[in-house]
Amino acid sequence: MGDPADNKLGISNSIRTLRFLHNEMTQKQLADLIGVTRQTVMAIESNKYSPTLEVAFKIAEVFNLPIDQVFSYRSAK
């Protein structure tokens, strides 16, 4: 998706881009759909917090995509 966060080590995601592509969904709307707070969505988007598996699957479900198209992992190897 060309997100600068994609080049970082560890878990990164393309939630910001996906939200934009889904009728410019707000963080609050996504937060309500997956049952977390808007602050948690903000932290996940900025890669400061890795969501639980359950939340990660819920986010993928909202965008109707497989989880590996929403989240990616880059190891130091």
């Binding site: 977390v36 948690t40 932290a43 400061k48 969501p51 939340v55």
Partner: protein
């Protein structure tokens, strides 16, 4: 972006949980201020008096309960739904980080109070304190500091988003 816009943006980004924590932090800070100012303004006779001390502690407990009840009523009036919402996993983790710092401060406080009590009991001349019942004040101080750390750390971690650091 000028300061007014920054303030508006900051207020919009503030969650209800942050507001609740801020209120708890301010109430605890005010209780701490009341306790310290009572000790600073007390005469040596008052400091030595058990009756005065127990009255002060009772006052502090009553103030704490009243202020917490009032603040939660006000918060409930602002948004009852959000006050009753359960914490998500990240908030629970931040809460635990807050408890970690709180526990460290409490442990240090208890150890300091025990050391001070033993120093007073052994009667070491060079380390004698001029404040009577100092171990009790250390315990109360540690408790208030621990509460402040609990709320403060949660506010900081919640705002920065970095809960692993």
């Amino acid at each position: 972006m000028d300061n007014k816009q920054k303030l508006i943006q900051w207020l919009q980004e503030t969650s209800f949980r942050e507001l609740t924590l801020s209120v708890d932090f301010l109430v605890t800070g005010y209780i701490g201020y009341l306790y310290v100012s009572a000790l600073v303004n007390a005469t040596p006779e008052q400091l030595a008096s058990i009756t005065w001390l127990s009255t002060l502690l009772l006052q502090i407990i009553i103030y704490s309960i009243v202020l917490m009840v009032i603040s939660y009523i006000v918060l409930g009036l602002i948004s009852d739904n959000e006050l009753n919402q359960p914490m998500d996993v990240r908030e629970k983790q931040i809460n635990l980080v807050g408890y970690k710092y709180s526990a460290i401060i409490l442990q240090v406080g208890v150890i300091l109070a025990l050391v001070q009590y033993n120093i007073a009991a052994q009667g070491f001349e060079f380390m004698q304190s001029s404040v009577p019942h100092l171990p009790l004040h250390i315990l109360v101080g540690a408790f208030l500091l621990a509460e402040l750390a609990h709320y403060g750390v949660q506010l900081y971690k919640g705002r920065t988003g970095d809960i692993y650091g």
